[in-house]
């Protein structure tokens, strides 16, 4: 009994730490940047009207705040969709990106960009978002289709990887025959970035991400049971077929949203769920899902801060930063896992 109580205490402490980190990340993201604004001014801008109409006010409210909100929401979504995919495939390094979701997005985007540049003279930001959203869902839809055909998770994972390769090959084909000016947007997209988000974007992102997250939280019971594998889950009275569809659907909507708005953001989906599980020392979905969301948000906010300030005024691709912090986590995880098994 005592041990269970200490488990709950640990979870409370972890949540407190994550909320504190989130708060610190919010302050840092609003405060730090190429335009010098003091912390005091930041608080005045946020909570009073003193600076209204001035440049600082616009920088904070229209540039830094929406960008930060987008990074937080998309980071959280990446973490949660990574956790879902890993639980679903019972594989620690599965993630929506491994399943070809970003390759699918890039393929459709490449296609649309080339067509649009020739016919319409360019592709608007909104259409780029729509195109990559469709692309990601297309790739995931195919994986879903195959999920109905095979019950073997390892095979499904490999199918996902193969779909990724096919999409990349088609993208390369399009790029080979495209002119440089046609694909400049594509190159920019594939670097990945949270920059240039406005409040309208944030509203759409919040809609998709928060609804999907709420949907995920409704599935905590079957997710918890599914950790023991499909055979046991089914024997405990779960509708496994429906569950499989829901999980892939939820995680692909979340990661499609990320791909559409920020481009491919690597390693967050793999590293964040693992970091969270390590921190909380459990994989209980009711505890880990909110934890992963918070952790993903904090992780991406910090990475974005580094991306835009480390070599300012040159901005790094978000994937560059997340890989530097995320990949070592994955390596450490795989090594420690091996040790535990021996």
């Amino acid at each position: 009994m005592e041990k269970r109580d200490s488990g709950i205490l640990r979870w409370e402490i972890c949540y407190a730490v994550l909320v504190l980190l989130l708060f610190a990340a919010v302050v840092a993201n609003i405060w730090i940047g190429s335009a010098n604004i003091s912390v005091g001014d930041v608080f005045k801008i946020l909570f009073t009207d003193v600076f209204r109409g001035q440049a600082q006010y616009t920088i904070v409210w229209s540039i830094r705040m929406p960008r930060m909100a987008a990074a937080a929401l998309l980071g959280g979504a990446l973490g949660v969709s990574g956790y879902l995919i890993q639980t679903y495939f019972r594989n620690p390094i599965a993630s929506p990106f491994v399943l070809g979701i970003s390759s699918g997005a890039k393929m459709v985007l490449a296609f649309c960009v080339v067509i649009a540049t020739n016919l319409l003279g360019g592709l608007s930001g909104v259409s780029m978002v729509v195109a990559s959203f469709i692309g990601s869902l297309l790739a995931m839809g195919f994986v879903l289709l195959c999920a109905g055909k095979t019950k073997n998770m390892a095979i499904l994972l490999i199918i996902g990887i193969m779909i990724g390769y096919i999409c990349s090959a088609i993208t390369d084909l399009i790029i080979t025959f495209a002119k440089d000016e046609e694909i400049v947007n594509l190159t920019y997209w594939s670097m990945g970035s949270f920059s240039g988000k406005d409040w309208d974007d944030v509203a759409v992102i919040a809609g998709f991400v928060l609804v999907s997250f709420a949907g995920t939280m409704l599935l905590v019971k079957p997710i918890a049971a599914f950790r023991m594998g499909e055979g046991y889950a089914q024997s405990m009275g779960m509708n496994v077929k429906l569950f499989r569809v829901l999980i892939i659907l939820l995680s692909s909507v979340m990661s499609a949203c990320v791909v559409a708005y920020a481009g491919p953001v690597s390693f967050v989906g793999i590293a964040v769920p693992h970091l969270t599980k390590m921190m909380f020392s459990t994989s209980r979905p009711a505890v880990i899902l909110p934890g992963t969301f918070l952790m993903g948000a904090v992780f991406c906010m910090i990475c974005d801060l580094i991306a835009r300030t480390a070599f300012a005024p040159t901005e790094l691709a978000i994937g560059t930063v997340t890989a530097i912090f995320g990949a070592p986590v994955v390596i450490a995880m795989l090594l420690s896992r091996r040790r535990r098994e021996l």
Partner: protein
């Protein structure tokens, strides 16, 4: 009183029937064991009962009702399983595993009520797993894992428990413990238990009924007394080399080839370890003088080239000694395993003298050959 039955059940994968026309009946409180070779279809039958596989014909009935008509949830309150695949988990405590068994009883968010927690504790106690509850499942031993999985299945409070090879990976102590718990579940809770086992000796001891599965058909169904008789096991498993001793439930390896090179003077169980040692070294041997109700006789029958024996409960006579002397002379060595000479085998001591007089080497250990 519930009653599980399969009628004209056909099972298989991908619409291909592996075994057809299965008729099976399990009453409350009965333990029914499926035995048969690897790949004979034991798992396929069990999976069809637990609805992990769709039956390809016929049906499984619980109390006369087609089990396919039960909802997912209702089915889960009637059947629970222990699967044969090794379960790998990521940061789950043993208690969480057992708690999962309450799945069909808890609300939408899986909240455990006091009653559920009591049942979890009780299930853990039943398998002796209280001490493991807060440990990570991935960190406990195979035997402990299996006990926790059994506790999970108990926690689900089913009427029928289905276990696919629950004793693989377990050492002998855990095997006996686990099967003992199954017997208790059957008799105390009137649960029907269906399992598959590779250890046919244990199957004979714990089962009320044995089902012999043989590739494309049910070879035979019956009580252990009916199955473990005559040549059935040999036929079922297609034993060509080696043999299975029905009385002991033990397995002997193939008889060493060639002419006898040593005569083992045995009796009263002293011969068995020597016979097995000789078999390992591939040395053919003859042995005697064994009464046919001697334990050594059982194993000698499987391993010895020649046995000099006397009918059960009879004393060794002069003519038996002569037969033994002939064998000793032929083998050229005498290995003395037995040094107890009572009323029935008094004359065997003469064989020692015989060897000395004829300068036939008398040894006491296999390594001296």
């Amino acid at each position: 009183m519930q009653n599980l039955s399969a009628q004209k059940l056909s099972v298989g994968y991908n619409k291909k029937i592996l075994i057809g026309g299965i008729d099976l009946e399990v009453r409350a409180g009965e333990v029914v064991t499926l035995i048969g070779r690897n790949g004979a279809g034991k798992s396929t039958i069990l999976k069809s009962i637990t609805r992990h596989l769709e039956p390809l014909g016929g049906a499984v009935y619980l109390d006369g009702k087609d089990s396919r008509l039960l909802s997912h949830k209702d089915f889960a309150t009637q059947f629970s399983v222990v699967l044969t695949e090794r379960l790998k988990t990521d940061r789950m405590t043993c208690r969480e595993i057992v708690e999962a068994g309450r799945y069909p009883y808890t609300n939408f968010f899986g909240k455990l009520k006091e009653e559920d927690k009591r049942i979890v504790d009780e299930s853990l106690r039943m398998v002796g797993g209280e001490g493991l509850a807060e440990k990570q499942f991935s960190s406990v031993s195979d035997g402990q894992k299996q006990r926790i999985l059994l506790a999970r299945a108990i926690c689900q409070q089913p009427q029928v428990m289905v276990l696919d090879e629950p004793t693989s990976f377990l050492d002998i102590r855990y095997k006996i413990e686990l099967l003992g718990i199954l017997r208790r579940l059957a008799s105390e809770r009137k649960m029907s238990v269906i399992l598959s086992l590779h250890e046919i000796d244990l199957a004979a001891k714990i089962s009320d009924k044995i089902v012999c599965v043989d590739g494309d058909k049910i070879y035979k169904t019956g009580t252990p007394e009916e199955i473990f008789r005559g040549d059935e096991i040999r036929k079922l498993y297609g034993l060509r080399s080696g043999s299975y001793n029905l009385l002991f439930g033990s397995v002997e390896m193939e008889k060493p080839a060639g002419e006898s090179r040593v005569f083992v003077l045995a009796g009263g169980g002293t011969g068995i370890p020597i016979y097995r040692a000789l078999q390992r070294k591939g040395i053919a041997f003859s042995t005697g003088i064994l009464s046919e109700n001697d334990v050594d006789f059982q194993v000698a029958a499987d391993l010895a080239e020649t046995i000099v024996s006397v009918p059960a409960f009879s004393a060794v006579k002069d003519e038996d000694i002569e037969r033994a002397q002939k064998q000793i002379r032929r083998a050229g060595k005498l290995l003395q395993a037995c040094n107890i000479f009572g009323e029935c085998n008094q004359k065997c001591e003469e064989l020692l003298r015989f060897a000395k007089e004829n300068s036939i080497p008398l040894i006491s250990d296999v390594s001296e050959i």
